[in-house]
Subunit: 356 residues, 2 copies
């Protein structure tokens, strides 16, 4: 009868009549141990109800847990709602899973509890995805901890590998497309510059206080083509917020209404589309709408959003590979992935130019 205390490797070894080291080798599947011995160990384990080496103790000894923390923006709920983020996560798991690495989801930019939690949870490495704001305390903590970190579209940090995309060029290309269609009065909808729940037109000082590089890059792409244009910041990257922005921008007299709205994400663009529909505006006849991301939004069909397509899954895979590199002691290089414009059914000639 097995004793009442949980069995340990040592007790199993004792029962099998071998040393703990041999038992350990047996469980590790080392070829340096006889098949017969291995069997004896397994039998003993069975008898004692021992399910294999304790993961914690093993992790401590070999200094590796098999867990990679992934920080996704804002609340987890929002990240889950964002097809782009999901594809990214999927790309990450795709590469990490075969290596037996689990994905620990952490809400980025979170408050105290998350900080504490971060300090207590064993992590081999971390991926800062999208959410990383400049000077994020979580990031600082990880660095002090000497946890390898990979940044995805986050702040540029000395010594941290950065997986980036060419947002600016892509946005500029899309903006150029709109300019070629005759659009002159355009507006843009930006993702949050800070996570303080603010929404509204972006003032110069608000912009100066922004914390997220992605937002700036995509803004710059528009500016490259149109110069400064009205930018409406939303409180978070979800459809409803896009709709609010859409109403704010489009529910004005026609002569002051933008003929094209460039949203910084497809979710926001979808919201703008909804707002347009609610206001009785036809797309693209009355207003053109464009997004960013190009993740598949099946529910938009048959509408095809004009957007900048980014390889989100490849971004995830690249980030995951960078993590594996770090864990293997190799220093990964920074990567900037290409993006490309997809012209859909939501952009068309500017109404003005048609009349002209």
């Amino acid at each position: 009868m097995p004793s009442h205390t949980r069995p340990t490797l040592a007790s199993v070894a004792a029962l099998a009549g071998v040393s703990p080291s041999t038992a350990s080798l047996a469980f590790a599947g080392s070829s340096r141990v006889t098949a017969e011995t291995r069997q004896r160990v397994f039998t003993a384990a069975q008898e004692l109800g021992y399910a294999g080496p304790d993961p914690l103790a093993a992790s401590l000894r070999r200094r590796r847990t098999g867990v990679v923390g992934t920080f996704v923006g804002e609340r987890l709920l929002y990240a889950f709602r964002d097809p782009e983020a999901i594809q990214l996560l999927d790309g990450i798991t795709e590469v990490l899973s075969p290596h037996g690495v689990g994905l620990l989801l952490l809400a980025g930019d979170a408050g105290r509890p998350a900080q504490e939690q971060l300090a207590r949870i064993p992590l081999d490495a971390a991926i800062f995805a999208t959410c990383g704001m400049a000077g994020d305390p979580a990031l600082a903590l990880l660095q002090r901890r000497a946890v390898p970190v990979v940044v995805v579209e986050g702040p540029v940090m000395e010594g941290l590998p950065l997986i980036d995309i060419d947002d600016r060029r892509g946005t500029a290309e899309l903006a150029g497309h709109l300019r070629d269609l005759g659009h002159r009065r355009v507006a843009t909808v930006t993702m949050p510059l800070r996570l303080d729940g603010t929404r509204g037109l972006v003032s110069a000082e608000r912009e100066a206080a922004g914390m997220y590089r992605v937002v700036f890059k995509r803004l710059a792409g528009v500016t490259d083509v149109f110069g400064k244009v009205p930018a409406f910041e939303v409180a978070s990257n979800v459809v409803d917020e896009g709709a609010r922005a859409g109403h704010a921008l489009l529910d004005v007299p026609a002569d002051r209404r933008p003929t094209a709205v460039l949203a910084q994400s497809d979710l926001l663009a979808a919201g703008v589309l909804r707002a347009a529909a609610e206001l009785g505006l036809r797309v693209p006849e009355d207003v053109s709408v464009a997004g960013f991301d190009g993740a598949d939004l099946p529910w938009l069909r048959p509408t095809v959003l004009s957007t900048v397509v980014q390889p989100s899954d490849e971004k995830g895979r690249t980030a995951a590979r960078a993590v594996l590199d770090l864990l293997a002691g190799r220093q990964p290089t920074d990567v900037t992935l290409p993006v490309w414009m997809r012209v859909g059914t939501t952009t068309g000639p500017a109404p003005d130019s048609v009349q002209a």
Copy 2:
């Protein structure tokens, strides 16, 4: 100058001139240590570049990692696409986060790598959500490892707390609603009975080989009202699969076409709606469509899906509370949460009965 090896609590304690035990207390924020002493320890830590106790070592000692594994069905990607699953996850995090517990996502029903991974990753507890099939090897492994497990809508297992919903009654209620509307020829679209990529009409033997209790419960709800009806099984719970099922069921001569389709999830129902649209069928004039879940699908607007609403977030919170109970040594009780019917715009009188 700090030595080249990573600083440890012991080295910090030595520099501060206290014992390791005191230093430990200091970092734990114990009131049993003088503010002055604590400060001295922190200063020493700073000097050595020590970021706080090693999470792994600490976890080993106190036998707790602060990580709860959550198994979500099939591939992570699909789970991410399912608003219901997402709300569930959100509910879980909502309760767990304040307790400093991180959520480790694991793909349920996965192959070998996931098994290995599971055996190596330190976990305090696990939540088996939706995906749990009867006799899942992952579940068996967790039980052998004596990891506390909470099952959500999974198999009924001796000794494992079960968080369930009243699918059967809810589905029956919805089916009754359709019967009251005069529908006599109905069909149902089921989620996968096994994860082997099969799709098509469910045969008796296929049904007998099914592994997921949820599917049976919802089938039973339909049977309660209509008796056996044609059931089309999809390969996975996504919109596209629902559309395929919709085509298979609806693309037939009108006199053999079901006047109502009950899908086992809103995602599948959305697919059926798309199929109906593609086939030029009006909803609900030509065919009524109903779903299950009631998570908000903003993109369906202005259509409102007739469905059974389940409290997914509350389900998640309940599961998370059960986990906390288990971790605190309390034995949680099984819970069955109520569901309720929501009549939307996708169900209406049966075409036959209108003519009659």
